[in-house]
């Protein structure tokens, strides 16, 4: 038995406390289990993995359900029963062990199941339990009290990234035993990432037909450098693991190219430091959890590392440089930005060529001091009417053009491109309201292409 604990501790560095605690509650065959345990902590801190391997290692009958996969409580109930009863779903008929529409059916069938197989000391694991909050109100309290409700000694383990305090319906629930899976410290992360050594070594061997062998110390040193750049921004193991693998290949590059010796840690650092910093900027940008994308990316990395980085920094700001807008559309967009970020009462002062000089009064100075922190550009775009847009458009445009249907079409194009958004759904042109949806950086780039100094016309900068 203790060998299981030791094995788990070795597989999951930094989880000693959690493993021991769980083992002390579930590790002894004859002892009754507690009715519910609530496990919480940030993502990829080993919650699912530790619980899963412990239950399997102890050969405890269990049903693990990830609530992300349950679009209705019916699916949840039936999946639990299928797993506990060992029911094999016939792929042609697809009948579940039993149909359950509600908690009453579930408990009835759970008892029925208990007559057929020994459910004594079995465990139900509800992963991503925070989802329960958006399901039927009675699910969370019912699962917390399942033992009392069913009269069976079935325990429930909740796994959640949200603390228990944030669950509603606490009043009628009993407090479960809570186990916190804390985020890993830098040392722990280093230790865990080092477990990837074999994997990384194979990867290197398979991808570079070089007679080239890295040792563990070389990899550990790299991880130290890697964490010195990344740890401050990110503590998520899965993300770090992904990034560390990608960058390790680049770290080794100078060695393959014979530009650097394996032992030349200074030279390797000089080479990798800018690369690490660049890739820090694409952290989390492989947002999609679909493994497809992960694969694709690593393929690209193999052929040309530098380019991939560029590709992924492709953001809305750089979009501005590539976007080919007609000349007037650019001015319309600029006018929209100005309308969104200037209060209307300032229009006169900003855009009229011969407005009376504004005399600074004490009141203004004071007011300015107070709000100095709260700039209009920080508060987001304000809606503006069609007329104001046209007025500003003419004010900033040096030449005279007729306002024709062509310009109207350009406005709708801007809306289609989601550079503008329509605030009211009104079809009436005069009462339509718009907002400008581009960032300051974006509009700056657009302004430059038409030689327009936007800061001159923004209240925030005057």
């Amino acid at each position: 038995m203790d060998s299981l604990v030791n094995q788990l501790k070795m597989n999951f560095p930094g989880r000693t406390y959690q493993i021991e605690r769980l083992f002390s509650l579930f590790g002894y065959k004859n002892e009754p289990f507690v009715s519910s345990v609530f496990i919480y902590g940030p993502s990829s801190t080993g919650k699912s993995a530790v619980v899963g391997s412990l239950l399997d290692g102890l050969e405890i009958r269990n049903a693990c359900v990830n609530l992300v996969e349950c679009y209705s409580s019916k699916v949840l109930f039936e999946s639990i029963l299928n797993q506990l009863s060992g029911h094999k779903i016939d792929p042609f008929k697809g009948h579940p062990y039993a149909k359950c529409d509600n908690v009453m059916d579930f408990i009835f069938n759970l008892r029925k199941c208990a007559d057929e197989v020994d459910l004594n000391k079995s465990v139900i694991v509800l992963d991503k339990a925070e989802r329960l909050r958006n399901m039927d109100y009675n699910l969370l309290p019912a699962f917390l009290k399942l033992k009392e409700l069913s009269g069976l000694s079935v325990s429930v383990i909740f796994i959640s990234e949200i603390i228990f305090e944030k669950y509603y319906f606490k009043a009628r629930t009993l407090e479960p035993i809570k186990i916190h899976f804390s985020q890993y410290t830098r040392e722990e992360l280093w230790e865990i990432l080092r477990l990837d050594f074999d994997h990384v070594q194979n990867f290197i061997r398979n991808n570079f037909n070089e007679n080239f062998d890295i040792n563990e110390e070389f990899f550990s040193n790299y991880l130290n450098l890697f964490l010195s750049v990344f740890y401050r921004v990110c503590r998520d193991l899965s993300e770090l693991r992904h990034m560390s693998k990608l960058n390790f290949v680049k770290y080794c590059e100078p060695v393959f190219k014979k530009e650097c010796k394996l032992e030349d840690s200074m030279g390797l650092w000089r080479h990798i430091a800018p690369i690490l910093k660049a890739s820090l900027e694409v952290l989390y940008l492989r947002i999609s959890p679909v493994s497809q994308e992960g694969k694709q990316q690593s393929v690209e990395i193999k052929c040309d590392g530098a380019r991939t980085v560029k590709q992924f920094t492709f953001s809305k700001e750089s979009l501005a440089q590539f976007l080919e807008l007609p000349f007037y559309a650019k001015y319309l967009l600029i006018a929209a930005y100005l309308a969104s970020y200037n209060p209307p009462k300032e229009d006169k002062r900003l855009f009229m060529k011969y407005h009376g000089k504004k005399t600074k009064r004490m009141k203004d100075v004071k007011a300015k001091n107070i709000v100095s922190e709260q700039l209009n550009t920080q508060l987001g775009p304000k809606p503006f009417g069609f007329e104001r847009l046209v007025a500003i458009f003419y004010a900033i445009l040096e030449e005279k053009v007729d306002f024709n249907s062509n310009l109207l079409v350009q406005i709708s194009t801007l809306v289609e491109l989601q550079l503008l958004s329509m605030v009211s759904d009104n079809c009436d042109l005069d009462s339509r309201k718009y907002k400008c949806c581009v960032s300051f950086e974006f509009i700056q780039i657009i302004s430059k292409t038409v030689d327009f100094n936007i800061t001159k016309y923004l209240v925030d900068f005057n």
């Binding site: 002892e31 009754p32 009993l174 921004v233 952290l283």
Partner: protein, 428 residues
Amino acid sequence: MVGYKNYENTRLHIKNKIVNVDQYNGHTHERKQLLDILKRTTDSGESNSALLIGPPGVGKTTLVNSILKELQEDKKFNSSAVLVRLHGLIHTDDRLALKAITSRMNLDNAINGKVFGSFAENLSFLLACLQTGQRETSKSVLFILEEFDLFCSHHNQTLLYNLFDVSQSAQTPICVIGITHRLDVIELFEKRVKSRFSHRQIFLFSTHGDDIAIPSINQRIDRISNFLLLTNNNDFSSTYFAQWNKNIKQLMKDKKFICSMQRLLDISENEEITKNIMMLAVSKLNVEKPKISADDIEDELNIFEKDDLVQTVQDLSVLELCLLIAMKHHSEIYDLQPFNFEMILTRYNKFINANSNVQNVQRSVVLKAFEHIQNVELIAPTGTVMSRLQKEYQLFKLLITSQQITEAIKTMNGLPTEVIQWAGSSLA
């Protein structure tokens, strides 16, 4: 080897006692009151209704279970009464409740295929089935409704209306006991339901037990020592048995231990928490750790009392923490006014610019960090989330106090000094 068996048996013995409580101790007055009400229905055929009210975990269910057990020990009970237990979390509407009542009364066959005009008709048919004419052979029905307040939200309170209505008329003798933690449950009744309820309420609080002279802390410690004392010496060597029990008796008098128990009682009347803490303390027993000490209990209590929100903050990355500090400063300066990403970013950038040694990261990465803070629910959008609004401008409010953030930073390891200083500065 013997020591090994002893500690394993101790764990098993105590855990069994903690998990399978069926005896109720204390509250003898309330217990007798409830028992009498039920007996009047089963023995003399009087109908009645009552509510048992008390905070969660005070022992309502345990009390009712122990009473029912006592009733069922009487051989006559099964021939003279039917027990129907309903639970607000299971029987979430009256249709389900009626289905459960039917099957509990073994009347599934009798009702087969019958169509009833109304709920009342259906219920009275069920109750009539139990009547065989003579008073001696007809059965009384005991209804126990757990999480009673939830039944009040059923459509038109039909079930409650009908049950209370029957309990007021001279038809079948029934007794309706509602169990709830809501003190204001009567306010939830519709008028017609309220007027049919007997207004008998039994309150259960751990703070006023039967005997005011015995403080509730002593009663609770009594219950704990019942858990921890070994009672069956067949499973243990006699010296071990004596030593263990002596040790527990000492523990029960230990100042530190009593202090912890008082602390726990002050936090909550929920006895389940105490049981969890005992369970965890017992679970820690092993060959190297053969005894339970007052320190163990205190450790568990400290873990229990830890502020989860503070822990959530400590699990953040330095970048995320910096954003949280910026939010804290914003809230302090603007008197808890909401903020958006742009404002926080500006404040954060000021900090970065003042500290040349800190590497800046791209806006998109900062935005991700901001979103992470939202995902762990340290902040929440204010008002309606407008899909048309760009997320950078969506206003948020903090769901954590400045003190909690300060507290988290104080006990966090390995934070860069400039961050600690920035967090501490009052005007950033």
